[in-house]
Symmetry: C2
Subunit: 401 residues, 2 copies
């Protein structure tokens, strides 16, 4: 029942300061004129906004740059003692918690590998301990928190389903959090957190139409953005590419249907196929990946169906949505360059020429903290639009530091 959106003065100011700050987040050491040109805001708007951000301790002076003629530029940078955001990724086998600045640079980090999701109470205790540990180390309270998990939730933030922690279904996480901590919390799907990580940590991805694909032990997910803004995501929940049906009468899937992409392209399905092809039922994932990367014919042959089905699913989506850039991340990306090349070739062979010409494909690996950092960035975005709320949140200090 959402009607045509109307705009208030606040929305305008928020959009403009967000644009301004995003430019500064890309790179420290910009001057006011540069900010104005890059954000297409007026000079005077920038001056005013910058003054405001100074007074709130968000940015700081970072020297000056002498030009050949004229007054030198005063360079600006994110304040080192500016607001921090807590970001937490609740993954099946570990908890990652970070304190990051508005740019998503990690300042403090804590990790835990609880016994497993079996004991819900101990898991939450562990989480609480880690958060206290982080805020103590930082010596101040974060301005907000973002929690990323594999699941969905209502507008209020109450959990609905949590794929990796069935016991947490219907748990009122925001209430739990607010009973313990004095700063606001926001929940999001891990996939959305990763998308924020991509948009802020690789800001060139914030232009045009972006599709993020993340594969993990819990499936293959997808998120979309257009010009840096999330699209088609209900309550910060991502889409499940892994359950696209890609074969009319395919293999049975755990979801109860047949022919889901995951029956062909999940980590488990692939390993199974490789084991069968090699005749080694005990082969581990890492070893299998190594063999594939080395060009072992049996492994390559066993990988072909995955490439075919995954590539088709990606290409279909790219064609339909006229996507400009596809970013692939997650555990399946550990299969190495040979796999990447084969997948990209397959995808491109299925695209319309005009779309193929524009499409960029990027494989990202080694971003172990993208979920936690992205969660922090989800919590940061409202601040980037409006720091008036922030003024009250930061002065609170942890005693004894």
């Amino acid at each position: 029942m959402d009607e045509t959106p109307i705009l208030k003065l606040n929305d305008m100011k928020g959009a403009n300061t967000l644009a301004l700050l995003r430019v500064l987040l890309r790179r420290d050491g910009m001057s006011r004129v540069e900010l104005a040109r890059a954000s297409r805001c007026d000079n005077t708007t920038v001056t005013r906004a910058v003054r405001d951000l100074f007074s709130r301790g968000v940015i700081t002076r970072a020297g000056r740059k002498d030009l050949a003629h004229g007054r030198p530029r005063e360079l600006l940078a994110l304040a080192p003692d500016g607001p921090l955001l807590l970001g937490v990724a609740l993954e099946p086998d570990r908890i990652v918690a970070v304190l990051a600045d508005l740019r998503g640079t990690v300042r403090y980090q804590a990790e835990a590998a609880p016994d497993g999701p079996a004991d819900c109470r101990r898991y939450l205790d562990e989480l609480e301990t880690r958060i206290r540990q982080l805020t103590a180390a930082a010596g101040r309270l974060p301005a907000g928190a973002g929690i990323a998990l594999f699941g969905s939730f209502g507008t209020g933030g109450r959990l609905e389903t949590v794929s990796s922690f069935p016991e947490l279904a219907n748990f009122d996480f925001p209430a739990w959090f607010q009973e313990r901590f004095a700063f606001p919390v926001a929940l999001c799907d891990t996939l959305i957190a990763r998308m924020y990580h991509e948009l802020y940590r690789h800001p060139e991805s914030a232009a045009g139409k972006l599709m993020l694909i993340s594969s993990g032990s819990s499936g293959i997910g997808m998120a979309l953005a257009e010009n840096g803004e999330l699209r088609f995501s209900n309550n910060l929940h991502g889409g499940e590419l892994g359950h696209n049906i890609c074969e009319p009468d395919g293999l049975p899937c755990a979801c109860g249907r047949r022919g889901c992409l995951e029956t062909r392209a999940s980590r488990r399905a692939w390993l199974e196929a490789v084991r069968t092809a090699c005749g080694t039922p005990e082969l581990g994932f890492a070893e299998a990946a190594k063999r594939g990367q080395a060009g072992d014919p049996a492994v390559v042959a066993a990988t072909a169906p995955m490439i075919c089905f995954l590539g088709t699913a990606i290409a279909n989506q790219v064609n339909n949505l006229m996507v400009d850039k596809v970013v692939l991340t997650g555990s399946m990306m550990e299969l190495g360059e040979r796999f990447h090349t084969a997948l990209e070739t397959t995808v491109r062979s299925l695209l319309f020429p005009a779309i193929d010409r524009r499409l960029q494909m990027v494989f990202r690996s080694g971003e172990e903290e993208s979920g936690a950092v992205g969660a922090a960035l989800v919590a940061a975005e409202p601040l980037l639009r409006d720091f008036t709320a922030f003024r009250t949140a930061v002065p609170v200090r942890v005693s004894g530091t």
Copy 2:
């Protein structure tokens, strides 16, 4: 290279008057307070906007409504002599041209069925004649024009590819138009025009996530909108669902690949399958559809693959994008209710339960002018945001009427 969008005062005003007018477009006879409540604008904002729209001749008084107590409401309506928009659909076998008001109500209509796209010059002459005929009948010039065709074009409006008129590739249509007519013109893909038709003529579709699927002789297309705004469409160009690959090693398609949805679900493919199943190679489409609607077992069996593949493609997309509403339109919808039911059942059986619960599926038929009307609405939208340009466009009158 699009950066984070910034907002100016004009954008704010534009967004608000657009919201206001959309409420009035839904139904004539609203009063100012009703407009304010429905659009969530302030009372006084509405008063000012309404005064402005009066002075520009866009709206008019439409009586008053007495309440039990208090001052009666002054009812407002779109002015009958308000701005008109020209909308043209260049379809393979016909030209449809309409003059419509801001709401998309057709005031004047002209249709032509040229010999075919063989002779490009005669085709364009025919178009010019029809437009002159319409403006003469109306006695005034439209405030703008929208042209819908099956194809794509650059930002400048120059045609790139036109699937139904290969000869028009690289034709500078806007230049041709501006040499002949004194009002602005905008080009769009027919699919986008149909989407605008859906959003404005069935305004309940302007809430939430909408997927429009339109099947015709030239394929199966798809367009997306979120809260009444177009999404993932390059330069008003739609996506081609018909070339989603739905079978790993399927039938060869005209596009050069294998397994495209169109090899199973296009009008032609379906008719072919039915003819084979019935053993009647001369069977016509209408007769085949009638048999299918009557439940002829051979036809039903021949239709099954289409339902399966089309249903899967739709369900995959709905799951991925968490679509709230699917609207199906175009020639394939002539297959009748039995087909609709079967398709909907198939789609729903493949959705995640949470998404199935929210999804609405609508089959539309009999909207022959949706392309032309939608094109007019494409041209209308900028006016709804800002009528200052309109002031100069309308007073121009055709002499001799």
